[in-house]
Symmetry: C2
């Protein structure tokens, strides 16, 4: 191994994250991970004694951290909280189109594949979704919503986004994401504008 140990480990995690986005957990083979990471064969079990499952857990955590960072960055691009939500969704639609509709949400795919198993891997997905929801919750609280409503609307926003990503990938166009962005931002903005039931 010519590389620094840390660097091979990180490359394995990043590569696995990308493969989970495109093909999911069961659709990603160890050979593919090693090849795309340009990593020596023994390195996977060296760094991840728990094998593919441990590596996938680390990869979901890593990707969730990246998504969380992007969410925080986009939401703070403007002082208008609704415009921040719109910019975040528009950015994700652009990313999806630029990837040729390959780069979905790895948390969603791994959840759907592993939720039946009561596994640690699905637990990591649950925590990852909670992390994203917390960012949305805080954003909506700052915008003026009370704790309960901020929590509900954060859940709705996260669900709508994840669902729209599925529809956009299925149809290979960003229309579902564009439509959902327009409707959900108008709805949340409408509630805030009315100043009732916030």
């Amino acid at each position: 191994m010519k590389e620094e140990p840390q660097s091979v480990r990180e490359r394995l995690i990043r590569t696995t994250g990308q493969l989970l986005r495109s093909h999911g957990y069961y659709g990603t083979g160890l050979d593919e991970i090693l090849k795309d990471s340009d990593a020596p064969k023994g390195s996977l079990y060296h760094y991840f004694p728990g094998g593919k499952r441990q590596l996938a857990s680390e990869a979901v955590r890593y990707m969730a951290g990246r998504m969380a960072k992007r969410m925080v960055d986009d939401l703070s691009l403007t002082a208008d909280p609704i415009e921040g939500l719109r910019l975040f969704l528009a950015g994700r639609a652009n990313d999806l189109e630029a990837s040729g509709f390959k780069s979905g949400c790895p948390i969603a795919t791994v959840t759907l594949e592993t939720a039946s198993e009561h596994s640690d891997l699905c637990g990591v997905c649950s925590q990852s979704f909670d992390g994203l929801k917390q960012i949305l919750h805080e954003h909506l609280s700052r915008a003026g919503f009370g704790q309960e409503r901020a929590n509900s609307l954060a859940t709705l926003f996260l669900a709508s986004w994840e669902g729209a990503l599925i529809l956009s990938r299925a149809h290979r166009n960003t229309k579902p994401l564009d439509i959902v962005a327009k409707e959900i931002c108008a709805m949340i903005g409408g509630i805030l504008g009315k100043g009732q039931n916030v």
Copy 2:
């Protein structure tokens, strides 16, 4: 083969549909399909010369048809169009909980696994989602929305439901589905009640 040919074929499709719901396309093995279908080894390629991929396409179509029927049935349980939407989501939350959070939406899982491949299988998912959206579109049109808004809100409803299913499976509770049902029905009902921008 003691069974009627048609019956083995149908059993293979139904079993595959259930396995796709729980584990997805790549997480479902041919051995598991044959075992759970109680089907002779040669029967799979006999009825599905295109192998697992053809069988999975038929299974997604079959499950989408079942989901569409349930949607039509639930939406027509009451004369109140918003209450119909609420009943449909409540029914799906009950089903999910009763299955121990195993029975997700096979269209969503297969989409996320295969969207990168430009495959026929993903095309079947795209058509299946369109079929469900069309039912929602017609329901919202009958409720009083114009064509464009009915299309937008049908997309939002479908996306929110699919996303909430993911969150509920990840967390192993129906709260995300319950919250999304409450918020989305209040929002759509609110627009209809105001009679503006419908």
